[in-house]
């Protein structure tokens, strides 16, 4: 360890949607890495430890090192030439960079989509269809006496969710912390989160919708046939007991995870949990919230909604935003072979998309912006290396409860940040589009971004 040490107080971890902003980082400025992250959980510690400064070039075209400017020019030309360009990713970057990406897709009349479409996209659809009774995590900490987790395993995915916000902390109306709360976990198998719960309910795989629907009926005072146990694995008595708990709590919260949104039924599963929450508000205060994964995926939803009116899967082909999941979401535009150019920002679809989508990715020019080398950057035509948000770049991120949090950089990186690259691309595509429109569209009609 060198002498050149810096302590950064109240730093922010952006690894998961908890976005803990109470980190105390010890930075070795000579080695340019974080040697200690006080208050972080295992995942957070790994996140801070693995983000050292790499030695790959800032920009590459077809695997050969080029200057940043050349790569920006090539990117802009590729995007403007394309007839169905798509932009995807965005969940692991700042809101400032996300904004630039939306502007680019508006200018090039492309399609913009975020990783939301492969995690909580169905919840986005359900928000629109059913509505969301929502809250901030601070409210949960101070008020919630009944906490239910459905289809998620926060002990493994969001380790500090329990301790920072929902289970153990003492709050204004929860003076004794854990003792004052009832915790229920509903899942298809016993996960490491189960020991935290007072009550664990095991549902047969793929039967969440039926259980939620039965709960809705019971809340509304309708009869449910005892054969529900045979179908879903949950007895009527258990359901009645849960309904009793839900109706009689002072402040209840339903958190749900991808176990619900990515299984058969998708947006109807999220819709069912939101509708159940609405029903319960006849009796007591009840709220619901998806437990979001990536650091700033909530920010991506917010920025897209704020700028286009829709949270993900937005298409600008006709010059105005249109929203249609299934038509404009990235897995679909790639699998059907619609896209003819793609820009992936802070995301690695080449490692987790269906095979046919990846096959199509290999046929079209791909531009990637990432902090490290990934399968996507390896197959990319143009690859930019950027600095890591929350470590080398400041900016804004949204916690999973839509609370914006401002981050500072812990130490500088020689790499530019996503916002800088995207702003330069935006400027260049605008020039190119204006030049193109000068021929095709009469002056005065040209849109100003």
């Amino acid at each position: 360890m060198s002498e050149n040490i810096k302590i950064v107080k109240n730093a922010t971890c952006t690894f998961c949607g908890c976005v803990c902003d109470d980190m105390e980082l010890t930075v070795d400025l000579d080695e340019k890495r974080i040697i200690k992250a006080k208050n972080a959980c295992v995942l957070g510690r790994a996140w801070f430890a693995e983000h050292t400064i790499g030695d790959w070039p800032v920009a590459m075209i077809d695997g050969k090192e080029v200057s940043k400017e050349e790569a920006i020019e090539e990117t802009a030309q590729t995007l403007v030439k394309a007839k169905f360009p798509i932009i995807y990713g965005l969940s692991d970057t700042t809101c400032e960079a996300q904004r630039q990406a939306v502007a680019i897709s508006d200018i090039i009349r492309g399609t913009i989509d975020t990783t939301t479409s492969v995690c909580h996209g169905p919840s986005g659809l359900a928000f629109q269809g059913v509505g969301e009774s929502t809250m901030s995590l601070g409210e949960v900490k101070n008020r919630a006496d009944l906490v239910i987790y459905w289809g998620g395993n926060p002990a493994a995915s969001h380790p500090r969710h329990f301790t920072r916000y929902t289970v153990t902390p003492k709050g204004m109306f929860i003076p004794n912390g854990r003792k004052d709360r009832t915790v229920v976990l509903v899942d298809i198998r016993k996960t490491p989160s189960a020991p935290v719960a007072d009550l664990f309910i095991q549902v047969k795989p793929g039967k969440d919708f039926e259980v939620l629907w039965a709960l809705r009926a019971l809340v509304k005072g309708k009869n449910i046939d005892p054969s529900i146990e045979e179908e879903t694995g949950v007895s009527l008595a258990t359901l009645e007991d849960l309904v009793d708990k839900m109706k009689n709590c002072r402040y209840g919260v339903l958190f749900f995870g991808m176990g619900l949104t990515m299984t058969r039924g998708r947006h109807f599963n999220s819709g069912a949990i939101m509708a159940l929450t609405t029903d319960l508000n006849e009796f007591t205060h009840f709220v619901t919230k998806p437990v979001r994964g990536h650091g700033n995926v909530t920010g991506a939803d917010n920025v897209l909604s704020w700028q286009t009116g829709y949270p993900f899967g937005v298409n600008f082909n006709r010059g105005y935003p249109r929203f249609n999941p299934g038509e404009f979401t990235t897995v679909d535009t790639l699998s059907r072979g619609d896209a003819d150019a793609a820009m992936f920002i802070a995301s690695d679809p080449a490692s987790n998309f269906p095979k046919v989508a990846i096959e199509h990715m290999k046929k079209i020019p791909v531009i990637s912006l990432d902090t490290k080398q990934t399968e996507t950057s390896n197959l990319a035509h143009v690859a930019f290396a950027t600095s890591t948000y929350g470590i080398n770049t400041g900016g804004t991120v949204y916690r999973m409860d839509d609370v914006p949090i401002t981050m500072r950089s812990a130490f500088d990186s020689p790499y530019p940040d996503d916002e800088e690259i995207l702003t330069a691309i935006k400027k260049r595509v605008q020039e190119l589009v204006w030049a193109k429109q000068g021929i095709k569209i009469a002056v005065g009609e040209a849109r100003v971004a």
Binding site: G129, I228, G326
Partner: protein, 270 residues
């Protein structure tokens, strides 16, 4: 003489051609039709770049070629007839209120969303969300007929409030979800969670189907109106047997969470 549009260049990215609709092409000459705007991805180009235009539209349009990537055909159609020889892309006959569309091949997702009248016949299969409401919209199909001889996928008739959807093959999950009124007849098998959240309306199937917990069995009977419906779709070329027309149906009602006035009728003599 009818108008014939033959695809001579296959679009590389989706082509949005909502101008192809009898309302917009009636009486227009060949050159003017070829100059009409279509969207090839984000590129605003002319219809003639993709189609050979022949004849003049006197209410009927014939389309030839692989149109699987051509969307929005017959959007907002009110009169006339369109005959599509092959496959067709998404949003066929969106919001149409009259006229007729016949597809010899398969159709994609979103056939006739928010239709209020007219008729669509698809000889092959179709995708998700037939006769549905667009996302965020409170009402789907309100009138007219959608006849599909093959299979379809999920959410058939999502939030529909009127009209008839008849499916010759199987449907995916959530058939008639959020249904407000109207009729869906499925001659094949249905997936799971049919009629979830339905307020009124009728879903009929010739096979056993799993029921969600908020539906309850009422009786087995032989409703007269059903005979008329089934005889009608048999006349349209769907395979309905005499036993099915005269047979008994188990009546389930739901969704108890909503009004409990929707019904699912399942053929009892299977």
């Amino acid at each position: 003489m009818s108008l014939k549009l033959s695809l001579h260049t296959k679009p590389d990215v989706p082509l949005e051609a909502d101008v192809i609709c009898p309302d917009k092409l009636n009486g227009v000459n060949e050159t003017a039709i070829a100059a009409l705007t279509v969207f090839h991805g984000n590129d605003q180009t002319a219809l003639g770049d993709f189609f050979t235009v022949k004849g003049q539209c006197d209410g009927e349009i014939q389309l030839e070629g692989d149109l699987a990537n051509v969307k929005h055909l017959g959007s907002e159609m009110t009169i006339g007839k369109m005959i599509i020889e092959g496959d067709v892309g998404q949003h066929l006959g969106a919001c149409m209120s009259g006229g007729e569309i016949v597809v010899e091949g398969n159709a994609h997702d979103w056939v006739a969303p928010e239709m209020t009248g007219g008729k669509i016949t698809i000889k092959g299969n179709a995708g998700h969300l037939i006769g549905s409401a667009y996302r965020g919209s409170p009402i789907g199909m309100q009138g007219g007929e959608i006849i599909i001889h093959g299979d379809v996928k999920n959410e058939t008739g999502n939030t529909m409030r009127g009209g008839l959807i008849a499916i010759g093959g199987n449907t995916g999950d959530f058939t008639g979800v959020n249904m407000l009124a109207g009729t869906i007849i499925v001659l094949g098998e249905m997936g799971i969670r049919n009629g979830a959240s339905m307020k009124r309306g009728t879903i009929i199937s010739m096979h056993h189907a799993p029921m969600i917990p908020t539906f309850s069995y009422v009786c087995t009977y032989n409703p007269t109106y059903l005979r008329m419906y089934l005889s009608y779709i048999r006349k349209l070329g769907m395979e309905v047997s005499d036993e099915q027309i005269n047979g008994n149906y188990k009546r389930w009602i739901g969704d108890a969470i909503e009004l409990n006035k929707g019904e699912i009728l399942l053929y009892a003599n299977e």
